[in-house]
């Protein structure tokens, strides 16, 4: 297996829409995979604990908000920094019809894992072609 060195990704700040909560928001980087019966989304939100993530699906818009705590920075004075910290925000318009009753979200090691099951009628179906 060939190994690849990771390069650091510059955090992107949320542009446009102004949030009611003050401070800088960042866009979490995501992977979205498609399966026959679901979508799976992974979002990197380092510094966000399980209790501080909020996922909502409303009118086909999926919203992810992660809040960071400044507690760990008490009494620390920066000497050299390469990244800023802030809350995370990202929103997606879902094309697929998602069964919002069965969405499953877990947060582990700063990564949000979302399983978005497609609703019955959105699943691909194989249509038998019959001979005449």
């Amino acid at each position: 297996m060939t190994q690849q060195e990771i390069a650091a990704q510059e955090k992107r700040a949320v542009q446009g829409q102004e949030k009611t909560r003050a401070g800088r928001f960042f866009l979490p980087v995501v992977d979205i995979q498609e399966f026959n019966d679901s979508l799976k989304l992974y979002a990197d939100m380092p510094g966000v604990k399980q209790s501080d993530v909020e996922v909502t699906l409303h009118g086909g818009a999926l919203t992810i908000v992660g809040t960071v705590s400044t507690e760990a920075y008490q009494k620390l004075a920066p000497l050299y920094t390469e990244y800023n910290v802030g809350n995370y925000f990202r929103q997606f318009e879902l094309n697929e019809d998602i069964d919002d009753q069965r969405i499953n979200a877990t947060m582990r090691d700063g990564v949000l894992e979302l399983t978005l099951p497609k609703s019955e009628r959105a699943r691909p179906r194989r249509i038998e072609v019959s001979a005449r």
Partner: protein
């Protein structure tokens, strides 16, 4: 510089804004000798003065802490590991693929007079924190003034 910032008595929003502007101010601080590995490597690091030493805080989301190796030699701290993608064989395709995976190795030059043998590393919510205390010899000492 005062070490009384981001106190719990301040409200969280004020705290976060103060922290953000401070981190911005020290972004790639040219006055700090980072050493061999340069900036732009993974994981990105922030380095702080804790009063009794330094704290290096790196963002490494989604990794088994056992897959991170932290070592010290002289004044150089090295963070190594591998970040692996979650296995999902039956995916039919990707809509987005923004996250980076692979091996990483990053070395950071620390200020003199720290005791790397006493460094403590912890991993929580995707953040690796390494605290390195000052060496005993570097700590301020009270010198008794004897009467003549």
């Amino acid at each position: 510089m005062a070490l009384l910032r981001y106190s719990p008595e301040m409200d969280p929003v004020t705290n976060l804004i103060a922290l953000q502007s401070d981190l911005e101010r020290f972004l790639r601080n040219p006055g700090y000798e980072l050493g061999v590995s340069g900036s732009g490597g993974f994981p990105p690091v922030n380095i702080f003065d804790t009063g009794d030493g330094v704290a290096v805080i790196a963002e490494i989301p989604g990794i088994d802490p056992k897959a991170i190796s932290v070592s010290g030699q002289g004044h150089t701290l090295t963070i190594k590991g591998e970040r692996r993608r979650e296995i999902s064989t039956e995916a039919t395709g990707y809509h987005r693929r923004e996250r980076a995976f692979g091996e990483f190795s990053r070395s950071v030059q620390l200020p003199e007079q720290l005791d790397l043998d006493k460094a403590v590393a912890s991993y929580d919510a995707g953040m690796l924190t390494i605290k390195v205390p000052k060496a005993e010899a570097a700590k301020p000492r009270q010198i008794a003034v004897k009467p003549a």
